[in-house]
Symmetry: C2
Subunit: 179 residues, 2 copies
């Protein structure tokens, strides 16, 4: 199973304000920049419970009718919104990937800071598409976190948009094994 | 006086390893990406004492014969390398800018994480050129830091290089006054 990240960050690397706020994103999400095509390419979404709750709290649901796996040790806490297909799962990133593979999933969309960081650290992300918004927030929820090693990437392509968004695609290079 | 930033960062926003190490930069600094043109456009360099000592410690001196102002409250600690034109100065970013303007300087190159952060927070940076290296370091000296407000930027241009470096130029938008 492949796993990909598709996310917007501020120029200083935050994916949300400290309270999860996304008001700093361009109006209407900015120009179309490939999210529809990306989400059509995945067959499962993996997010953390915190991201799940933040997404619900802000009244948005970006994942359509895709199966969404919420990483949580308290499965009873998951009450999905209408139309959403959610289930709770617990385990390490490697365990989660193994379980999703057993169920036939082939391409996961990994979302949310903590979850992305855990999967990157475990060597389980293959590609990242990062769309940078031209703003410094100064504080917030970071995209990246501490790692136990360098993780080298291959730059695939970059494009920019009239709104000032700059989108770069990367592949994680092999030879970045988990410790 | 204008003040500009021209700097390379890892994809996760670090300008150096925790010890100041720059071994993760592309061999030989990567493809020519405008540094020579940039440094020719400035008439003074402003760095913090820590950056100064780190630069010296790694045996590099990127600033040629440009006048370099080292922000330090201990002027006697500055022992410049041969050929370098250094002096120590202390004061807030606004005081430093005022003093350099009095001396006729017109374009400052502000370098080093702490100094860049202080000048940005003070509303005294007009442009940033950020060159992103395709690597996650996981820890290090960050380019950006906390701010007391959003700082909005205008994206000017982005280009990428075969080595995977992605360079974006931004202007700091007016209406980002210091608090």
């Amino acid at each position: 199973m492949r796993a990909s990240v598709f996310i917007a960050t501020s120029l200083d690397g935050f994916i949300a304000r400290p309270d999860g706020g996304l008001d700093w994103l361009p109006q209407g999400g900015g120009e179309p920049h490939g999210f529809e095509e990306f989400i059509a390419s995945v067959d499962v979404v993996v997010i953390g419970r915190k991201t799940y709750e933040t997404v619900l709290g802000f009244g948005g649901w970006f994942y359509g009718a895709k199966p969404v796996v919420v990483l949580s040790s308290r499965p009873q806490a998951i009450a999905p919104p209408a139309g959403a297909v959610c289930e709770a799962l617990s385990g390490t990133p490697a365990e989660v990937v193994a379980r999703l593979e057993l169920r036939g999933f082939t391409h996961a969309y990994v979302d949310g800071g903590v979850t992305i960081q855990g999967f990157l650290e475990a060597g389980l992300i293959q590609s990242l598409v990062i769309t940078r918004i031209p703003i410094l927030l100064g504080q917030g929820i970071p995209l990246f976190g501490a790692t136990t090693r360098d993780i080298r990437l291959r730059h695939v392509s970059t494009r920019d948009f009239p709104s000032g968004m700059v989108q770069s695609s990367y592949q994680v290079l092999p030879g970045n094994p988990a410790p």
